[in-house]
Amino acid sequence: MRDLSKYFGIVSVIFLIVMAISPFKEYYRQWRQYQREYNKHIEDLPQRISPVEEGLKQIWVPELDVIDHCTSCHLGLNEPALADAPQPFTAHPPMYHQPERFGCTPCHQGQGVATNVEDSFGFTGDWDEPVLSAPLIESSCGTCHGEERVRHAPVLNKGKELIEKYNCAGCHEIKGVEKEFTPRLDGVGSKVSRDWLVRWLENPRGVSATTRMPNFHLSNRDAGLLADFLLSFTEFPTREKLEPLPGVLQDEIPDSLYERGETLFRQARCISCHLVQGKGGSVAPEIGTVASKASRQWIYNFLQEPRSLQPGIPMSRYAFSSGELQAVTAYIATEFIDWDAPEEADTVAHSPDPNFYEKGLKLFQEYNCGGCHALAGVTTGEELGPSLVNLRKKPMYQLEFGLKDIPHTRERYVIEKIKDPRGFLSNALMPSYQFSDQQRLAIATALLSFQQQPTPAPYRVEQANTPKPVLAGEFGQLVEKYQCLTCHQINGRGGEIAPDLSRSGSQLNHEWIKEYFRLPYTLRPILTERMPNFFMPEKDIELLSQYISLVLRDDSLETEPRLQSTAADVELGRKLYFNNYGCQACHQLGGKGGYVGPPLDNLDQRLQPGWVYQRLKNPHRYQPGILEPTFNLTDEEARALTTFLFAERGNQR
């Protein structure tokens, strides 16, 4: 019994100590210490900031299933005076969402319910979604915002663009991403030579530095087999054969034809879209070496009617006469030769592998070439790569790191996968893309925004789904022929390279439109992409200009200000133009001024006063994000300026 009393005593004391640990831990909880520190910190500041009441802070958003205790320590989020305070008290940079309504973790991820630093940041074994690093933060915008372009999220938008441009959806399941145009391979046997094709398949970038096609690291043998397979497709989707070359193009090309072709090539402004020897646009593929790639006959036929060889290609059909067509072909065929290409192998008749078709087909399907390139009679379009629709929420144990020796986080996985896809598994098939670090980040941002479970309705922002009218009739056919929508937008459809034409009828003078079609000149000399000269026939010009002037109108622009044209108004306008708002800094008028904006000479011939007036009142109404500053002009000022701009032509001409 004596022994036991000793045990009783000791065990009881140990029990007491164990029990006593809990209140101590409770008192010294990390967030309590931060709150005390915060109250001490703000005392020393010159500004008066109300101290925090000690206690656990919680944001609960049942709709999003969010419980966040982040604000227990991040106490200065809404205090501008704490912009430079140490973390966790730093003020939040401009916030687009109230934390009370959205919580923190929907954007930042991490373990919101946790109350200490290590667990809340989530870099612990049992949490799959640690805090997102700053460069990838915009991926969270994409979880709720389904719009094509998300405001304030340039990286995400860029990433989505890249995913579309490089056609990731060709191999991976991705939702809400359209495929950009990729050429069909039917007829490739009538277009390219075997030597070129093998070189291309081995390393596309080695042939054209700007191509979108990735490198599949094919061996010479595989590239040869695949080339033989592809070259067996000599028929085009819409017709069997190419039209024969006219006699003049079959042999040595006369200098006069070449020179005429050079002039036409310039007039047509081909380099608005195509890159030639380092100069030109990036809308269409580089053509600096196209003569070494495609046969002369193919070029001739393609220029004649691009969509008969490549249905759906966004290239305009130029209204060349047959003589002009010959000249341009002659110029392209003699000028754009790849002088660096290795000598054509001494045409020792190539004897293909007896089973080249089967072997080539196997390669074609193994590497899922059909994901991008359609080929008649070959079943394609299977998504071979893993689905990416739920990359944001995919359980960590499902991410296969394989041979890669990198920290096992989702972010690193995605970025590294884009950088070196074959480093993960020895038998991986994904080709390598040569993205810059920034492009990789953008793509990773977009990929990490994909989650299968949609955000609940009140928090989801969908793309405004207004039905976009299809342009029909003759006008529609002409728009298709000249591929206007590659660069211009009409009623929400089309590219963003050139101005929106949806209300150009209210904007531009009818006569000016016609002149512009006959001979387009550049309004903004600093731009690379210029309106090409399509050599339109008068019939087309008449129809297009009539349609634009009659249909593409906006009635709200018809409220023309009463331009009184009084000397007083003109003088007020002049004063406003030169003194008050300094318009000459960007615009040319009478040969003086800057080059940022378009010149304003002869404005009366080009534009309609209603448009100018409204545009001056609010430049961002139709073109959000343009450079022109908003001066918040009064009605009177806007009227005076418009009067001045329309009157000025007489004085300066």
């Binding site: 022994d3 809990s22 831990k25 409770e26 205790h69 319910v113 946790a114």
Partner: protein, 271 residues
């Protein structure tokens, strides 16, 4: 002292505690017999049977742990919702938010582990001291059921946090049940309340863990204790050694002859 005397002499006190101070052997036994909580206990026990090395207190420890588990478990129930979207969230709440939540949860968890250990060791002790021999063979059977229920309690509690470990632990376990011939499928179906480990399974395990199994365990523990008394106290030591130590803890001043029957308690058959 006067105050204490006044209170203990008062009517209220007397109405609760009928027996006076245990100053005589008779009164000592009355204390035990008249108390609801103590009446399962024998009025007299052998000194040797409360010696540490006789039992290592393993049964008592198991019971104490069961009490701790009951108390902490009831407190945990204040914060726990047996529903799929809430169960794991409540675990996180207990860990991060609720004051002393971690302490209570850990007390519950470690006590549960400890109870399995002590109950198992208790069985071993009983086995090696031949305490399952007649007349105690039925108490051994009850003990086996008690151990089984302890294990079942442990297992049903395993699902409640609703984390990966719990989910797969129960998925695997219930699939083992399925391997039973004829009735296996049915038992699994009834246990899970369906074919998958889901909302119903969580609720059923919760009810088993918090209501049914503890109730059954409490009743069986009562029977177990009562049987110890009816079976003549603990099977402590061999008869030979026992005869040397005839003194009783509560009977030091009593006449040994009066307690003759107790001296030979190990040979008493249940009446």
């Amino acid at each position: 002292m006067k105050l204490i005397n006044k209170i203990t002499a008062g009517r209220i006190w007397r109405s609760i505690f009928r027996t006076g101070l245990p100053s005589t052997n008779y009164r000592r036994s009355l204390v035990i017999l008249n108390n609801f909580f103590l009446h399962l206990h024998p009025a007299k026990v052998k000194k040797s049977s409360i010696k540490f090395t006789t039992t290592f207190y393993l049964g008592g420890l198991s019971f104490a742990l069961f009490l701790i588990l009951t108390v902490t478990g009831i407190f945990l129930m204040f914060y726990y919702h047996p529903a799929v979207p809430l169960a794991y969230r409540d675990m996180k709440d207990l860990e991060f938010v609720v004051s002393n939540g971690k302490l209570l949860r850990n007390l519950h968890r470690w006590s549960a582990h400890a109870m399995v250990v002590t109950a198992s060791l208790h069985m071993l002790r009983v086995f090696f001291t031949r305490a399952f021999h007649p007349p105690r063979e039925f108490n051994w059977v009850i003990g086996v059921f008690l151990l089984l229920i302890t294990l079942l309690l442990s297992y049903t509690g395993y699902l409640l946090p609703w984390d990966q470990l719990a989910y797969w632990g129960v998925s695997v376990g219930t699939n083992m049940i399925k391997a039973m011939p004829v009735v296996g499928d049915k038992i699994r179906f009834l246990l899970l309340g369906g074919n998958i480990t889901g909302e119903n399974a969580l609720l059923r395990f919760y009810v088993l863990h918090c209501v049914i199994l503890p109730l059954v365990l409490s009743v069986l523990v009562g029977v177990h204790f009562w049987r110890i008394r009816k079976d003549g106290g603990l099977q402590a030591e061999s008869a030979g050694r026992l005869s040397e130590k005839t003194d009783l803890i509560l009977g030091e001043k009593t006449n040994p002859r009066k307690d003759e029957s107790l001296v030979h308690s190990n040979s008493i058959r249940s009446k």
